[in-house]
């Protein structure tokens, strides 16, 4: 998938506080708007975002329809060991996207 932008340092010192920013393309349709035919457009949102570092969950967030389209999230974490950070978005209509980045801690 190329519809994800992740901004995080590639390297970090052990114990350093790092910020991870992630943006994903998604309409985040609220389910409260009517379409051209006058009927409500069904809700289609991302419900959950989870970040893991070497399989340990470091952050999660539950979204509601009040999150803007193309959801952006930023959070902090302490760099402990080199490894893989996996970011997973799940939501309505079977939406399930996972992206991973490698961070070297030295």
């Amino acid at each position: 998938m190329t519809n994800v932008l992740i901004n995080a340092p590639k390297t970090a010192k052990s114990g350093e506080l790092i910020e991870i920013k992630a943006l994903i393309l998604h309409p985040m349709e609220t389910g409260f708007r009517a379409g051209t035919n006058g009927r409500l457009i069904p809700r289609n949102i991302i419900e959950r975002f989870v970040a893991t570092w070497n399989q340990t969950e470091i952050f999660s967030i539950a979204f509601s329809p009040a999150i803007a389209a193309n959801p952006f999230v930023s959070f902090f974490t302490v760099a402990r060991q080199s490894g893989t950070v996996r970011l997973r978005w799940t939501g309505d209509e079977g939406f399930n996207v996972e992206e991973q980045i490698a961070i070297t801690v030295g």
Binding site: F32, A34, G35, I58, F59, I61, S64, A66, I67, F75
Partner: protein
């Protein structure tokens, strides 16, 4: 003439009424907050809710919540919740944090359907609740514009 007027009046009624009924209210927000906090007292302070006071476009309003906390095993922020008064639903987000985060700060962008108050609530590891609120004036509302 009269049929055109009747049509316009009817069209106005159709477009305006459903959304008035589908709005959250300050009472709904208070109820949603109580669902999270239970009977615990919510105190002002320690939380900073950073939002622009005046936004042109309610479809994407930047929001940053930061909480003063050492983020140690003994004393950290467990969760950050954000609520609003006048969107169709009072919930905005629930973030789960742990000592692994090192700093209790999150940022995202939200939709606002009207000028309103936004409330952020932080839950500490000892079960205390702290809050902060921000009033935002929105010139172009989100959520309620239909596609035409």
């Amino acid at each position: 003439m009269s049929s055109r007027r009747a049509f316009l009046a009817g069209a106005a009624a159709i477009t305006v009424v459903p959304f008035a009924a589908a709005r959250a209210t300050p009472a709904a927000m208070a109820a949603a907050i109580r669902e999270v906090t239970g009977d615990a007292a919510v105190r002002e302070g320690r939380v900073t809710l950073d939002m622009p006071p005046l936004v042109e476009n309610g479809n994407a309003v930047p929001l940053t919540v930061s909480v003063e906390s050492p983020m140690t095993e003994a004393d950290h922020i467990k969760a950050i919740h954000v609520f609003n008064e006048k969107n169709p639903q009072p919930h905005v987000l629930d973030a789960r944090l742990s000592p692994l985060n090192g700093r209790a700060q999150i940022a995202t962008r939200i939709k606002l359907a009207d000028s309103q108050k936004v409330v952020a609530i932080a839950e500490t590891s000892s079960g205390e609740f702290f809050s902060a609120s921000a009033d935002v004036i929105v010139t172009l509302a989100a959520c309620i514009e239909d596609i035409t």
